[in-house]
Structure formats: structure tokens, C-alpha cells
């Protein structure tokens, strides 16, 4: 049978994730050190794991509300208030999702009509473009670069806006560059967004992992922005809970109504035990000022400084990342493409990185290295990359 006669050509045309190929090669190299991961090297704190076990033993094996457990939504509401000064009503403005990924998909599908344009600053996370396509929209990349700290500027935003533009995606703190966006830059974007009456989808999944004194500012907290922001966050990165798949999306009630319809009919609800675990993460965090998160953040920060310095010492220019857990050094000086560099590095030195092009065409000339890896392994990997670069 030729399924190409049947499938949706628009969706079939979406390219596979650029990191897939590397995953396949790494699988054949058991001793390889991977800087290619996108998740914490910590396991979920024990008290959180225990809460889920207790819940199973207590027989909490039923569906929850489509919105997620009210207890969790209330805790999320308090958390967003305490940490970022955001105010969402747990009754009808907070929806618990299967990770932030589902939230992104929901937002796109709820908002897009065919031909609507979504502006996506790049390099950025691999799922934005495809979810725009799945939602029937058109993703319009906006290039950001190291010289401007990989931050979307108001000028570039203004230039990219057309009559079809409906949404601006804000991916900060950023995967893969480690860029963060400060209040001032956000305010400039805000002026353009309000002027053109756009909606923002703000993916703030790395909001707990910033390493500057300023910390994280949410675009939703800026004047007039709450009403035009779909705020997305989750538990994966901050609480080392990637495998649990719990995220959430917050927006004004009228918009939530549409998103929750999609969620209700496709997902029903996020897994109950994952929700209980998330409750424990927030309950404890609100009590001890998020000590678990602080410990992990400090450990990432130590390794961040080491990685940043090491790439500089290799003679590769490297933007100083102030968020997430990635460095994004330029390998342009080697004259190789990102993909060729990563493949050769993997085959010759058994170190896996992700080519910058996996995160958009403008990622060419860069590689993403995750520093959420044991210190001893980072040392070996950095030595090997250094030797590799020297012999090119």
C-alpha cells in the first residue's frame, strides 16, 4: 500500500527531529559521553517520588478533573504568585497538561486558523515549528544571534510582522542557547506586541534555572500582557521531573475554555500520580523556599561556568549562557558545518553534542552542549573536544 496517497501531506512533510540521527549513532557506542541530553542529571527528589508511591498505595487510581486536581492548580497559582508575581485563578485559568509540550500544542491548536503566522525566534526548541504546522499555521522564524545575546529585539519583531501574524512565541530562558530575556528587552517587545494586537505564547519551562542576579521575569507580568499571554511552564526542568510529564498552561478564562476542550477530548487528564508528585514538589517548595531547586541550580551554575570557560580556552567563541543548562559555542572557526562537526566528534572522540541546526537554520555554526552531566564526565568530554578542535 502506498500510504502517501492517504496521509496528510502537510504533516508528513514535517522533518524528523534533527537529533534523531545522533541518537541512533550514540546507541551503537556504549562508552560515549553524551552532552546531547535535554534533561537534569538529578533524579526527582525522594520526597516527591514517595508522594506518588503513597498515592498509588492509597488507591488514587482514578481520573482527575480535566483541568487537573484543584489542589495542584491552587498550588500552581500560589507558586506563580510567590515566584513571578503572576495571578491566575486556579478555578478556570490554570490547566494541568502532559508536560509543557502538550501545552504548546494546545495553545497553537486553540488559536490558529489556516494561514495564521507564528513568529518563532530561533535557535529554539525543536517542537515549536512542527506544532505550528500541526495547528494549521505558518511558522515564521526570526533569527537571533550571539552578538545580541540571542534575544529577540523589538526591531526584528516589528520587521517580521505581517497582516497574517497572530502569535509571537517567546522561548526564554532558551533551549539551546541558554539566553535569558530581561525586563527591559521584554518591555520593548511588549510595545510592539500591544501595538500590533498580537498574542504571546511564552514557554518559560526553564524559568527556575537562571544564573544572573536579576533572575527571571515573566512577560505575563508586564502591564497589559496578562490578557494577551498564554503562559506555559512545567515541572520537568526545575524539579528534575522530566519523565513524569506534568506541565501547565495559564491564560485568561475565555481562552482557557477553548484549550481545555482540546485537552478534554484528547487527553482527559494528566496522570494522577504525576499530579500528586507535582503537588508535593510545590508544597515542600513553598515551605522551604524551594531548597531542592536551589541546590540543583547551584550545581548547574558551577558546571555552567566551567563549560563556558573551557570553550573559551579552546579558542571557540562562546556566548555566556545565563539560563537553562546548555552552552551554545560557535564552531564556525573550524570551517565545518554543525552536523559534520558533531558527527566527526562523536565517531572520533565518542562525545555526543547536538548540532545547532536541529534548533533552526540559524543554528548553523553552533553546537549545543548540555552541562547537566557529572563533573568527572564533563572534564573528560571537554578534554576530548579540546583535543578534537586542536587537531582539525
Amino acid at each position: 500500500m502506498d500510504y502517501s496517497q492517504y496521509w496528510n501531506p502537510g504533516i508528513a512533510a514535517v522533518p524528523k527531529s534533527g537529533i534523531r540521527k545522533f541518537f541512533d549513532i550514540v546507541q551503537t557506542m556504549p562508552g560515549a559521553i553524551s552532552l546531547g541530553v535535554g534533561e537534569p542529571d538529578f533524579v526527582t527528589p525522594y520526597h516527591i517520588r514517595n508522594a506518588a508511591i503513597d498515592s498509588i498505595l492509597d488507591g488514587e487510581t482514578q481520573y482527575t478533573s480535566n483541568w487537573g486536581r484543584l489542589k495542584l492548580r491552587k498550588l500552581i497559582g500560589r507558586y506563580l504568585d510567590v515566584r513571578y508575581g503572576l495571578h491566575y485563578d486556579p478555578e478556570n485559568e490554570i490547566l494541568v497538561t502532559i508536560g509543557a509540550s502538550e501545552a504548546i500544542d494546545l495553545a497553537m491548536r486553540a488559536l490558529l486558523t489556516p494561514g495564521d503566522e507564528v513568529l518563532v525566534p530561533e535557535p529554539s526548541y525543536v517542537s515549536y515549528q512542527p506544532t505550528v504546522v500541526f495547528g494549521g499555521g505558518v511558522a515564521v522564524p526570526i533569527r537571533t544571534d550571539a552578538s545580541r545575546n540571542f534575544v529577540l529585539t523589538a526591531e526584528d519583531l516589528e520587521k517580521a510582522i505581517t497582516p497574517r501574524t497572530k502569535i509571537v512565541l517567546l522561548p526564554y530562558p532558551n533551549n539551546p542557547t541558554g539566553a535569558i530575556i530581561g525586563r527591559e528587552a521584554l518591555q520593548q517587545l511588549r510595545d510592539v506586541i500591544v501595538k500590533h494586537d498580537l498574542i504571546v505564547i511564552s514557554d518559560e519551562i526553564y524559568s527556575e534555572l537562571t544564573y544572573s542576579a536579576e533572575g527571571h521575569t515573566s512577560v505575563a507580568g508586564l502591564p497589559e500582557m496578562r490578557e494577551r499571554t498564554v503562559y506555559i511552564n512545567g515541572f520537568s526542568k526545575a524539579f528534575a521531573m522530566t519523565g513524569w510529564r506534568v506541565g501547565y498552561v495559564c491564560a485568561p478564562a475565555q481562552l482557557m475554555d477553548v484549550m481545555v476542550k482540546i485537552h478534554q477530548y484528547t487527553i482527559m487528564c494528566a496522570p494522577t500520580q504525576a499530579q500528586v508528585a507535582a503537588e508535593e514538589a510545590l508544597r515542600q517548595g513553598l515551605e522551604d523556599d524551594f531548597a531542592d531547586v536551589a541546590t540543583m541550580r547551584q550545581s548547574y551554575d558551577h558546571r555552567r561556568r566551567l563549560m563556558y570557560k573551557a570553550f573559551g580556552n579552546m579558542g571557540l567563541s562562546c556566548f555566556e549562557p545565563l539560563g537553562a543548562f546548555y552552552v551554545f559555542p560557535s564552531i564556525a572557526a573550524t570551517g565545518m558545518t554543525s552536523e559534520a562537526f558533531c558527527e566527526k566528534l562523536l565517531r572520533e572522540k565518542a562525545v555526543a553534542c547536538v548540532p545547532g541546526t536541529a534548533f533552526g537554520a540559524c543554528g548553523e555554526g553552533y553546537i549545543r552542549c548540555c552541562y547537566a552531566t557529572a563533573l568527572e564526565k564533563l572534564d573528560i568530554a571537554l578534554d576530548k573536544i579540546g583535543a578534537f578542535v586542536q587537531n582539525l
Binding site: 527531529s17 537529533i19 545522533f22 541518537f23 550514540v26 546507541q27 560515549a32 553524551s34 546531547g36 541530553v37 535535554g38 534533561e39 542529571d41 533524579v43 526548541y125 525543536v126 517542537s127 533551549n175 547551584q298 558551577h302 558546571r303 561556568r305 566551567l306 570557560k309 555526543a352 547536538v354 552531566t373 557529572a374 563533573l375
Partner: protein
């Protein structure tokens, strides 16, 4: 105490062989600053020793360990300090804590053999004037010590490449 010092102590507690230069990068300080902080904490008796965590069970060394609960009569003016001092001077005694609860001192005692340990308790510890009673618990196995898991799965379970 400054946060930076605590951060430094935590790093050293994880791995006291980290080179000064590397610690400096990790903390965003100069090696000189870090060296000075360490010197200062050594002088103030905050850092007492740099020693590895050893799993003796994996060596050939003959060794028995016991936790000993000790009830004592505190002495006028000196409280528990004088008797604690008398006890911690024995080479066999590796650790001494003053405890709240049903007994007063908790000792971690180490010897080459069961016999030797029994000898220590019966002829050296129990006979001290202020000691009114002891309860000896032999250590059968160490699962975790000083925050280090001795036996268990510490493998990285993540997929090698993911978003």
C-alpha cells in the same frame, strides 16, 4: 558565614581534590580568593581534615565497628565534657556524640576483631567511674555513609540524546 563559603565547603565535601583553579571557575572567583577562603577556614577550625570516604568492606582489612550507647553521670561544672574527653582519647573511639534521649553519649568504635572490641568495652569503657551503663550494637553493613551510597545503582538512566 557568607554564602560563598558555604558553597565552597559543599564543593570540597563533594570532592576535596578539586583543583583550586577549577573551584575558582565554578564559583566565579580567582584562585587566590579561593585559596584565601580555604586558609581562613582551616585556621578557624571549620575545615579540619581532607579525607576520603572509604568502603572498607571492599578491602582485606580485618575490621569491626560498633555503635555504643553510653549512659554517664555528668560532673559538676564540667557537665559531659570531661567524660566525653576521657572517652574520645581512646584510639578505638572514632566518633563521639552527646545525644538527647535515653542515653548520653553515642560512640562509633572500631577494632580489628570482635574480641578486641569486646575487650575495649569491658575493660576500658565500662570501668570508667562516670559510666553507668553501655549498650553495644555491632555494625553489620554500611549502606550509606557521609552522604555516599556504598551499594546501589548510580547509573545515568537518561537516553543519550534528547530534546
Amino acid at each position: 558565614m557568607q554564602n560563598m563559603q558555604i558553597e565552597l565547603l559543599q564543593l570540597l565535601q563533594q570532592d576535596c581534590r578539586l583543583p583550586l583553579e577549577k573551584i575558582a571557575v565554578m564559583l566565579g572567583k580567582t584562585p587566590e580568593d579561593v585559596g584565601a577562603m580555604i586558609d581562613d577556614m582551616e585556621k578557624r577550625g571549620i575545615i579540619l581534615r581532607y579525607s576520603p570516604v572509604i568502603n572498607w568492606d571492599k578491602t582485606d582489612k580485618d575490621r569491626v565497628e560498633a555503635m555504643i550507647e553510653v549512659r554517664v553521670t555528668p560532673q559538676r561544672d564540667e557537665g559531659f565534657d570531661a567524660i566525653a574527653k576521657r572517652i574520645y582519647r581512646f584510639d578505638e573511639v572514632k566518633t563521639v556524640y552527646l545525644m538527647s534521649g535515653a542515653y548520653d553519649l553515642l560512640l562509633l568504635v572500631e577494632a580489628h576483631s570482635l574480641k578486641e572490641l569486646g575487650y575495649f568495652v569491658s575493660t576500658k569503657l565500662s570501668v570508667l567511674d562516670s559510666v553507668t551503663g553501655t549498650a553495644t550494637h555491632f555494625v553489620l553493613k554500611r549502606y550509606k555513609s557521609d552522604g555516599v551510597i556504598f551499594e546501589g545503582d548510580t547509573q545515568d538512566k537518561r537516553m543519550a540524546v534528547n530534546p
